[in-house]
């Protein structure tokens, strides 16, 4: 450390170049602020985990696995494609092109906005100062007026299964596999574990999912996860629930289930047991900020922690999802610019890119009851949907949760093809205070899977068109005041 080094003055400092960080930087530039982004990997770090090692690369792998598996499934329809063979080395190059295009785009946006990006590990030294250790090992001081902390999260580690990059991998390592392993154990059947396990199984690996809870995707309503569980079974994935992963010796993962030990064959173990916020190495105490016991920064509604300090993305409470970070970032920057603002979405949607996709927004029926509301649930299967049939994926359901009497849309839960896109309709409905009548009377394109949302709304309004069973208690008397 160089003592007495002249600190560089920075107007708006953003720590972390992931979705929340770069969105904050762009918003700062829009507001006329002079912005500096410090990312551990500098220019190469722009895009963060999401673009470089998470959402985007995993979708590239899932999509390829899907094509392989679906193409094989068209044999009965008269389509025969050759034997499926997978070259993950070539996939890595393909993945790098996609990632490069996206991160390059973000870098251009930042450059065009006049945002500077520097590489280094940052630690706060004073309420208005930080030291950055550059890759060359030099220490540079920055003195800032305002700061946005957007350092994101990292995969949680099990002490007896520390990733070594070869045989034990975290989610990042799993997406960097140079070749397809014959046998894979995925520890953790949350959304990351289920997504990766499904993709590798479709490409030809023999996959075992090991989950501590009683079922896969424990954070999602069990009714929504059943089609996924059935599909995993079809794909030949072994699912061990209520199971604890132990040591990995040779090609055997030792799993404890109740009072029995199970030996799981695994050339590679992928650990996907959640994520931890990166708030422990920042010298936050010097900044006058204390994370909670969960390591999260408990921000005010406007995302500030104290004057001149805000935090966004995975380091704040709520779902650790890129779209939450994107939405928080402008609020935080506007607050630092002195505006009165609040981060107050009515609902944040969540998606699992499993097979079939699961997408959910708003309240489940149980959650609505817990809130003291009286919900009506209408469920429409995908089975009768023309588009779903042509996609050869007539699995899943659309479940619409609305309020008795008012018909207000409280939640939309979709399992099926393109669920990740359909859920946006429910999110808008909830934000706008729309009713099932509003959705029922909105013209939906035919043939699309989205028609099932309209059908669920019609059923809730007591006038299902293609659904025989009307709602249990249709909303006959919608308030016309």
């Amino acid at each position: 450390m160089v003592v007495g080094e002249i600190a560089e003055a920075v107007d708006l400092l953003v720590v972390g170049g992931g979705p929340a960080g770069y969105a904050a930087a762009l918003r700062g530039a829009q507001r006329g602020r002079d912005v500096l982004v410090i990312d551990r990997d500098g220019e190469d770090g722009v895009g963060g985990v999401c673009l470089r090692a998470g959402c985007i690369p995993s979708k590239a792998l899932i999509e390829m696995a899907d094509v392989a598996e679906r193409a094989a499934g068209y044999a009965s329809a008269g389509l025969s494609v050759g034997e499926c063979s997978v070259d993950l080395g070539a996939f890595q190059a393909h993945k790098a092109r996609i990632v490069g295009e996206l991160t390059g785009g973000v870098r251009s946006l930042l450059a065009a906005a006049g945002v500077r990006v520097l590489a280094g590990d940052l630690r706060f030294t004073r309420p208005d100062q930080a030291v950055v250790r550059t890759p060359a090992g030099r220490a540079a001081f920055v003195e800032f007026r305002d700061v946005v902390i957007a350092t994101g999260s990292r995969p949680a580690v099990l002490p007896h299964l520390v990733p070594d990059g070869v045989r034990v991998l975290d989610s990042t390592g799993a997406l960097d596999l140079p070749e397809l392993p014959a046998t894979v154990a995925v520890v953790g059947a949350g959304y990351i574990g289920v997504e990766l396990g499904t993709a590798l199984a479709k490409l030809g690996s023999s996959v075992t999912l090991v989950e501590m809870a009683e079922r896969i995707l424990p954070e999602i309503d069990v009714a929504l996860t059943r089609p996924v569980a059935r599909r995993l079974d079809e794909l030949g994935v072994t699912v061990l629930t209520a199971a604890r992963a132990g040591e990995h010796r040779g090609t055997i993962l030792h799993v404890r289930r109740g009072d029995r030990d199970v030996e799981v064959k695994a050339d590679v173990v992928i650990v996907a047991v959640g994520r931890r916020p990166n708030t422990d190495e920042l010298g936050l105490d010097r900044l006058g900020v204390t994370p909670g016991d969960d390591g999260l920064l408990h921000v005010a509604p406007d995302r500030t922690l104290r004057p001149h300090v805000a935090a966004v993305g995975d380091v704040t409470p709520g779902p650790a999802l890129a779209h939450k970070g994107y939405a928080e970032a402008p609020v935080a920057v506007d607050a630092l610019c002195g505006d009165r603002v609040t981060f107050q979405p009515a609902a944040i949607p969540a998606v699992v890119f499993a097979d079939p996709e699961i997408a959910t927004v708003g309240l489940s029926a149980a959650a609505a009851r817990a809130e003291g509301l009286d919900p009506v649930v209408t469920t429409i299967p995908m089975a009768g949907n023309g588009r779903a049939l042509t996609l050869r994926a007539p699995r899943g359901t659309v479940q619409l949760v609305s309020e008795t009497g008012t018909g207000l849309v409280l939640g939309l839960h979709v399992v099926g093809p393109h669920a990740s896109e359909l859920v946006a309709e429910g999110t808008v409905a909830i934000e706008m205070g729309a009713t099932v009548e509003d959705l029922a009377d909105t013209v939906h394109v035919h043939p699309t899977v989205g028609e099932q949302v309209q059908e669920a709304a019609r059923a809730a309004a007591g006038r299902g068109l293609h659904s025989a069973s009307p709602a249990r208690r249709p909303h006959h008397h919608l308030n016309k005041e």
């Binding site: 002195g338 009165r340 603002v341 809130e371 009286d374 008012t406 205070g433 009713t435 919608l478």
Partner: protein, 428 residues
């Protein structure tokens, strides 16, 4: 039987709140339709609110003296006869909830307009929420005009125009009522009122607003500088301009010229055209000169704001001051005319005052007070002469402004008043 929550209606004065004066019936009382139930007082009037139908008052949500925002529950009511809004009858096993568990200490009312006694959040689109937050308006305190009581943009705009007090940094803050601990402890025991000789009168309406604002002003550390300024030339200029204005049918007082002197001085000392937010520890320097003019009304002090005063001509200022003065006296000014000032002028000379100590209109950081112009003997070139003298006092927030800066500002003001021709050199 159906349960209704009766809410404080907007009594048509565009006010945000009213005070419960007296309950005319007790909880549990049977009432007839249109029988007065409660007397409420707004800044303007006392109003009796009647029962909506024949029935029983089951619960009174507030006690006398409580301040209730428009749209919040006043009492719950079981209708027995016709005339009540039919609500979904609840199954016998589940008695209808009048109010759900409180959220954030606020009972969530259930009513025909907002069914569902659950903890459902207030209905409003994101754009509506953003506008409300920007202007410090609590959505929960509004009554939505949309379907299911959804709050729409126009509801928020109405609240902004209708006296929903903004807590924006640039608008007068509505301070909390003074608590006993915050008030100065009297050195003597409180005086017991003697029946028949004294009157006890609660603070109400505008007077209460003024009282709160002054309490807030008291937390600002004031420094005040006084001058007596030779206003002979200013008066001469005023006479010339007044004659000219009269030909145009406009009555021109001295005040527009004083405003012009103040805006010119503010341009040269921008630190005085500012607001201070101690919570954020931030000073906002305002480019626009929005000058408040303290105006006395029978009910209390109102400070209408001359928007963009620096860009108005002297006749333009005169017209706007006349409009705002009339509006203030009639209490008919919309919120945008009484909030968001960046500096204030108090023209106490108009009541004959020689000199006073003006109080800063927080969160602004300075105020100029002008006394009455009068004859005074002053030395001119070493000999006594009778001149027209204008006493003035400028108070500034010492957290931001030191005596030296205040002196410089007052020097500029004095030079402009002594030599009013300089006002013609003002750039806009």
């Amino acid at each position: 039987m159906s349960t209704t929550v009766f809410r404080l209606p907007d009594i048509g004065e565009g006010l945000a709140e009213a005070e419960i004066v007296e309950w005319l019936v007790a909880a549990g009382a049977e009432v007839r339709a249109d029988q007065p139930v409660v007397t409420v007082e707004t800044a303007k009037a006392q109003v009796e609110l009647p029962a909506p139908a024949d029935g029983v008052i089951t619960e009174l949500a507030h006690g006398p003296g409580d301040i209730v925002p428009v749209g919040s529950a006043l009492f719950t009511f079981e209708a027995t006869g016709s005339g009540a809004d039919a609500v979904e009858p609840a199954p016998a096993s589940e008695p209808a909830l009048a109010t759900a568990p409180a959220v954030d200490g606020r009972a969530v009312p259930a009513s025909p307009a907002r069914p569902g006694a659950g903890r459902r959040r207030v209905l409003a689109a994101p754009s509506t929420r953003r506008l409300a937050v920007e202007h410090g308006i609590e959505l929960a305190e509004l009554t939505g005009s949309g379907p299911n009581g959804r709050i729409v943009l126009d509801d928020v705009r109405a609240a902004m125009a209708g006296g929903a007090r903004s807590v924006d940094g640039a608008a007068p803050r509505s301070p909390e009522p003074v608590t006993a601990q915050a008030a100065v402890t009297p050195a003597t025991a409180p005086v017991e009122p003697v029946a028949g000789e004294t009157q006890v009168r609660p603070l109400r309406g505008l007077r209460r607003q003024v009282a709160r604002a002054m309490t807030a002003a008291w937390s600002v550390p004031h420094i005040t500088e006084f001058r007596e300024v030779d206003a002979t030339e200013l008066e001469r200029a005023h006479r010339t301009l007044r004659a000219d204005a009269e030909e145009q049918g406009l009555r021109l007082t001295l005040l527009p010229l004083l405003v012009r002197a103040v805006t010119t001085a503010l341009r040269r000392h921008p630190d005085f055209n500012a607001t201070l937010d101690m919570e954020r520890e931030e000073v906002t320097l305002h480019r626009r000169l929005d000058v408040g003019i303290a105006a006395a009304t029978p009910d209390g002090l109102i400070v209408p704001v001359l928007r963009d005063a620096g860009r108005r001509s002297v006749p333009g200022l005169a017209r706007e001051i006349a409009r705002l003065g009339a509006g203030a006296r009639e209490r008919s000014l919309p919120l945008q005319d009484t909030t968001g000032g960046t500096f204030t002028i108090s023209n106490f000379g108009s009541y004959g005052t020689w000199l006073g100590t003006p109080l800063i209109n927080a969160p602004q950081v300075a105020i100029a007070g002008f006394g009455r112009v009068h004859d005074a003997v002053v030395p001119v070139d070493g000999v006594p002469a009778v001149r027209r003298v204008l006493p003035l006092a400028v108070a500034a927030d010492h957290r931001l402004i030191d005596g030296e800066h205040l002196g410089a500002f007052v020097n500029t003001l004095e030079r402009l008043i002594r030599t009013p021709l300089l006002l013609l050199g003002e750039e806009d």
